[in-house]
Symmetry: C2
Subunit: 366 residues, 2 copies
């Protein structure tokens, strides 16, 4: 019963970091003789140059046949040559939507080696370990009607719709409640119910689900503005946070600084469970394509490597290996491995590949 | 030519902090013999209990006749006894909208006395001095259609509309460009143009206005998620930031922690200029009604007192007095005056009134 992982580096620093994550994934599939095949696929600018499509048919086939996707990054100014229409057709948003990836998990974990190091210790907060569950398939990203319209007098108006159905709220909330139950038992739901009806519905559905299925989980609510402030002030207070698409986008970047660098953060985006309990899943670092450092071999691959740990846990059914990989990353950091984004001034920074080497060396040691 | 200031403490800690800000304002009107009368007005729960309206007719009249409003706070759980309908009629949002207060200024300034104090120095960042200009009269707060609808099958959906006209974008952007020109000449416009058409229009209008009227201002653009991260990482990089209603709400709370406490931050909300160049204006601390500490006399009045400085500058035409008041607040802090929210562990905290005393004492000294 072979499992297939599509490996898609994408654009900007995507291929560089994904290359290291792929090495780590192969280490596990080979050592553990996991029934997994890796299938490399093109995405973005290069694909467009060669085939006229951002997502060529072979890539689409690899995605559709995959049990999991290891994704790098897409977007950025360098891609201006791709017409907007082709870009939209092949966008990450379309991909998320077409796979119905509604639950986006963004763990924020701070590493002791980083928060004990000056000057990072002023920024990296102690003992942070929480997960943002961001609704990823609906809300203002996809709501209709949307557009820019010009009135008879030539005046223009841009508009978007933030829309959530009860069912969309329930499925992501159910996921988040279940996750909280498996952790420290606390869920914080974030909305703007003092302003938006979409948030009023969100809160009502979360409250109802809590009462009917998860009374054992401690549920709290925050308005999004307060949540942003609390994440900066004291992120250690949170266990699991669930919120909508746009709020999750903002809050997870807000939280990223607690971990020292966006480059450290992994993510998993999950679809609905099928009858065998399997979910379509896309794993990617939280950072983007970072065109300013693309091709230089200096990007931090840990966000992508830690996404492999999430894949081991959530798709490949190897929780012990997932934990081993997380320990290996911590071990590499404890032994001083630093890419430029997390290095202290004057400290020598490793290349992307050398950080991959450091993690593999730690895997061998542990 | 008498000017009128309506003083509205409102709910929760609003009356407590406004009481101190009122003392400070009176100090200036009396010492300088400013042609200003203060008119106290009821708002919120107490008003509702007495009159059946959150904004009684006398308050409405005071507001409509005022050149400026000094506002405290509204909202919070304690007000559950007020029916939703009455609450909506008398909400701060309705007030902002009815006065067409489209430009909400939120300065984020960190005080040396705070960033030199341990343990605040881990949180309060050095040399931060920027202003968020938040569009306050439109966007998802007010867009139509909105509501919760139930389908024929009983399924529910909540929805809101984020809508901006070109004119709405231009007037707030024009204000922000002008402000940037009077400061360090840099404006950062924040949107989500990679996802929302409302943001595409926003960006187009900002770019066009820059080219036609403000080519001397250095303009940059950030997506809102990146902006949230940059505000946490390095707020000192910003001079003036302009953004829409909901993004401004979130980003200003995100930025608040850079100043050590939400309790430190003032705001001004301005309407369109009339033929004499005068604008309707509401001054209020950024913090809310904080029901958990209401009535205890421990709230930080500096956000409200610094709002008086903004009033002196923007409505009363006393820029020197505004600067004097800001120096007095810095002097009080430098001499160790601390309310509980900014006190170090073990340090004795002043009451709300004692902090008011400290600022008045500094005004006398300077
Ligand atoms: C690139 C952009 C459309 C995307 C988003 O807003 O979802 C990104 O910010 C993310 O968080 O994955
Ligand atoms: C109370 C709430 C409606 C308000 C807002 O979202 O505007 C508050 O958060 C603010 O920032 O003034």
């Amino acid at each position: 019963n072979m499992m297939r992982v599509a490996v898609i580096g994408g654009e900007g620093i995507g291929p560089e970091v994904t290359g290291q994550a792929r090495r780590v994934l192969s280490w596990f599939t080979e050592r553990r003789r996991l029934p997994v095949t890796l299938e490399d696929a093109e995405f973005g600018l290069e694909a467009y140059r060669r085939t006229g499509k951002v997502i060529p048919p072979e890539t689409r086939a690899a995605i559709d046949g995959a049990d999991a996707i290891l994704f790098g990054a897409t977007g950025g100014p360098e891609t201006a040559e791709v017409p907007a229409e082709a870009r939209r057709e092949g966008s990450l948003l379309k991909l998320r939507r077409s796979l119905d990836l509604y639950a986006n998990l963004r763990p924020i974990i701070t590493d002791p080696a980083l928060y004990e190091a000056a000057p990072l210790k002023e920024r990296v907060l102690r003992g942070v370990d929480f997960i943002i569950v961001r609704e990823l398939s609906s809300g203002i990203y996809f709501g209709e009607p949307r557009g820019i319209e010009t009135g008879p007098d030539g005046s223009r108006r841009g508009f978007n719709t933030n829309s959530y159905t009860a069912e969309e709220v329930r499925r992501v909330a159910r996921f988040a409640f279940g996750l909280a139950r498996s952790r420290r038992g606390r869920l914080c739901s974030v909305d703007k119910a003092n302003v938006m009806e979409a948030s009023v519905l969100w809160r009502e559905e979360v409250v109802a689900l809590h009462a009917s299925e998860f009374p054992d989980v401690a549920l709290s609510h925050l308005y999004v503005d307060n949540a942003a402030m609390q994440i900066v002030r004291d992120p250690a207070q949170f266990d699991v946070m669930v919120t909508d698409n746009i709020f999750g986008d903002i809050l997870s970047d807000c939280a990223a600084m607690a971990a020292g660098s966006l480059g450290m953060l992994p993510s998993a985006s999950l679809g609905p469970a099928d009858t065998r309990g399997r979910r379509q899943a896309l794993y990617e670092p939280v950072h983007g394509s970072a065109p300013d450092i693309a091709g230089k071999g200096i990007a931090n691959p840990l966000g992508s490597i830690l996404s492999v740990a999430m894949m081991l846990r959530l798709t490949l059914g190897q929780p012990d290996d997932a934990a081993l990989l997380e320990r290996a990353v911590a071990d590499a950091l404890a032994r001083g491995a630093r890419t430029a984004d997390i290095a202290e001034p004057g400290q020598a920074a490793l290349s992307t590949a050398a950080m991959g080497d450091a993690v593999l060396a730690s895997l061998e040691r542990l």
